[in-house]
């Protein structure tokens, strides 16, 4: 990953038209450097999910500009023809619930993404196993998702988000179902992975336990963001 990780300038999103229009994002500006983990915090209805969906290229912003690395992906319109490929190759997702595919074992859950990108099965599995080892769940490589603990499932989900080496990972409340010890472990893993793979990671969270771990935090309220320095405890 070269350049500036992820850069958002003047991003807006409006739902509806005329009198019923709702401006969910208002001139949002955001920057996350490669290898950095930032928090995105805000109450329900503040526009967190809308911002995440815009970043994840699943909904169209109304206006603004977005860059991934040196590539402009949105500038008052998508500059990338294949958004599906963009999501597959450039953006990793980690969800509140792991949402692992229940009929694939752990290895194939992780290896599926590179396989979808055309990597051979053997290479994809090797890449998956290496990541599982890095996340310390290689011993569950052959297990089915239903056989894993909540923490193990979330680590596998992180591995899936990282497996295609995306420049950006969007984590939507990844610690919500976990106790504080496991939640902090997940954040530690995200920080390690961000540093190791020079990935820009945005973590959307309500979780008071993990907020002090971010060095930078974006607060969002009524579609407007403002940046502040975090405490950045524990992961230097």
């Amino acid at each position: 990953m070269s350049g500036q990780g992820i850069l958002i300038e003047g991003l807006s999103k409006r739902y509806g038209e005329g009198d019923t229009a709702v401006l969910a994002l208002k001139n949002v500006n955001m920057r996350v450097a490669p290898g950095e983990v930032v928090g995105l915090i805000g109450p329900s209805g503040s526009g967190k999910s809308t911002l995440l969906k815009c970043l994840g290229a699943v909904i169209d912003p109304t206006a603004g500009r977005m860059m991934l690395g040196d590539e402009v992906i949105y500038d008052d319109g998508w500059k990338v023809r294949d958004l599906r490929a963009l999501r597959r190759d450039k953006i990793g997702f980690v969800f509140q619930a792991p949402y692992l595919i229940p009929f694939l074992d752990v290895t194939d859950n992780v290896a599926l993404l590179p396989m979808l990108a055309g990597v051979s099965n053997d290479q994809a599995r090797a890449r998956a196993l290496a990541l599982l080892a890095a996340l310390d769940v290689q011993h569950r490589a052959q297990a089915m998702p239903s056989q894993l603990s909540g923490g193990e499932q979330q680590r596998v989900a992180i591995a899936r988000g990282l497996v295609n080496r995306p420049p950006v990972i969007l984590a939507d409340e990844p610690t919500a179902p976990l106790d504080s010890q496991r939640a902090l472990a997940v954040i530690r893993i995200l920080n390690d992975m961000a540093r190791r793979y020079q990935t820009a990671i945005i973590v959307v969270t309500h979780d008071e336990k993990i907020i002090p771990t971010f060095k930078r935090i974006y607060h969002i309220r009524d579609g407007v963001t403002h940046e502040e320095a975090g405490e950045g405890r524990g992961f230097d």
């Binding site: 597959r88 396989m115 939507d172």
Partner: protein, 400 residues
């Protein structure tokens, strides 16, 4: 690329196998129904094959002797036998009735055959046990499906017959087993009245002044005598001499004997196109209903399985899975369900067919057509689920 459909099936194999078995039993019924129709056609053709005839000479303007009743004089065969192109001609009677066998009834087609030699028109072409009829009265050759055995005694009307030979696949177009008896006995069984009826008829004739004229001695006796004579048969079976076409022989019989003549293709048309046409339509309707029910079951199961995976499908789409990969997964699952169902159905139909009272003919071509029909139904049934999956918004995977 791994097979998502295969993995999902392996993961929830119990659901697939048990649904497949249920669907398979339905497909088994469908294949059996098709087999019943094929059996009816095969019975009809067997009836024509086994008669040993090339032409059927019947009463004018009738579709006899199988589809309608037909009655012709039993001495006409002699004149037909001498016509050009006729190698053999023989009288025959057909009568479907209940035959007493001990304490039970057997529904059978009683065939009256003329005295002659094995191989003559009307005679059973081959036996599986015993011998052909050699006496003029009270011997019978029965199809093995009737349940009779060699030496059994059966009762037709007032007379008892001894089974001296057994045949196989000698059946009527309805699938009733045939019982061959001498022609004279068959005529008596078909046309002779019982004693009470004869007495009643005599009293009526005597009371009729047209027949009982004191001025014409012997008239009443002559009329009464004519009423007790049975000189009717249902048809005359004709075998062609080599080198003659059916029409070459049939045309003079129609013209000079004033009778209706059918060749093999016409008789097949009567049997298959007319006699079993209603039954065939009935079976066709059943097949349509069963196909619709099968499609509904597959559609419902695949739809339910897809609904159970909506969140996973949203995740798959979000992480970049192509729509066609997801559609392929659902389609392959539907096809796998159909394949399991077809295998179960084919096995079920194969084992069940011999236990049906009528002949069930399971033809490989029908099975092949059935397989492709099942696959087509599965494809169509999966379209609803595929449409649902393709409409899933990848944004659903992201909360909020």
């Amino acid at each position: 690329m791994i097979s998502l459909a295969g993995r999902d099936i392996l993961h929830s194999w119990g659901k697939f196998v048990f649904t497949g078995i249920g669907l398979g039993l339905l497909i088994g019924v469908t294949l059996t129904m098709a087999g019943v129709y094929r059996g009816m056609v095969a019975d009809g053709k067997a009836l024509l094959d086994n008669s040993g005839a090339d032409l059927w000479v019947v009463q004018q303007e009738t579709l006899g002797p199988y589809a309608e009743s037909s009655s012709v004089y039993d001495d006409l065969w002699r004149g037909i036998r001498t016509m050009p192109g006729v190698a053999a001609a023989a009288n025959v009677t057909y009568l479907t009735m209940q035959i007493r066998h001990g304490r039970r009834d057997v529904r059978a087609m009683v065939v009256g055959i003329m005295a002659g030699n094995p191989g003559d028109p009307g005679w059973p072409p081959h036996l599986v046990a015993g011998r052909q009829i050699t006496r003029g009265h009270y011997e019978a050759v029965a199809d093995i499906a009737s349940g009779f055995r060699l030496g059994d005694e059966l009762k037709i009307r007032r007379d008892r017959y001894k089974v001296v030979g057994l045949t196989r696949r000698m059946v009527s177009s309805n699938g009733d087993p045939m019982v061959f008896i001498p022609l004279k006995d068959a005529q008596a069984a078909q046309f002779l009245k019982d004693n009470d009826a004869i007495w009643m008829q005599r009293r009526r004739t005597e009371a009729n002044p047209a027949f009982n004229r004191p001025t014409v001695p012997g008239l009443l006796e002559a009329v009464l005598a004519s009423q007790t004579v049975n000189n009717q048969v249902n048809a005359i079976l004709v075998r062609l001499a080599p080198g003659y076409t059916p029409e070459e022989v049939a045309a003079p019989i129609r013209r000079w004997k004033r009778l209706t003549v059918y060749d093999r293709s016409q008789m097949e048309e009567i049997l298959i196109g007319k006699l079993i046409a209603t039954a065939a339509k009935q079976i066709g309707m059943f097949l349509v209903i069963l196909a619709v029910v099968s499609a509904a079951i597959v559609a419902f199961i695949i739809y339910t399985l897809t609904m159970d995976k909506i969140r996973e499908i949203a995740v798959l789409k979000l992480i970049g899975t192509r729509n066609r990969t997801i559609a392929r997964m659902i389609l392959l699952q539907a096809l796998a369900l159909g394949a399991i169902g077809f295998v179960v159905g084919k096995i079920a139909a194969t084992f069940a067919a011999p236990h049906f009272p009528k002949y069930v003919l399971l033809m490989p071509a029908d099975s092949l057509a059935g397989f492709f029909a099942v696959m087509l139904i599965c494809v169509l049934a999966s379209l609803v689920a595929i449409r649902l999956a393709l409409k899933v918004d990848p944004a659903e995977a992201i909360g909020g």
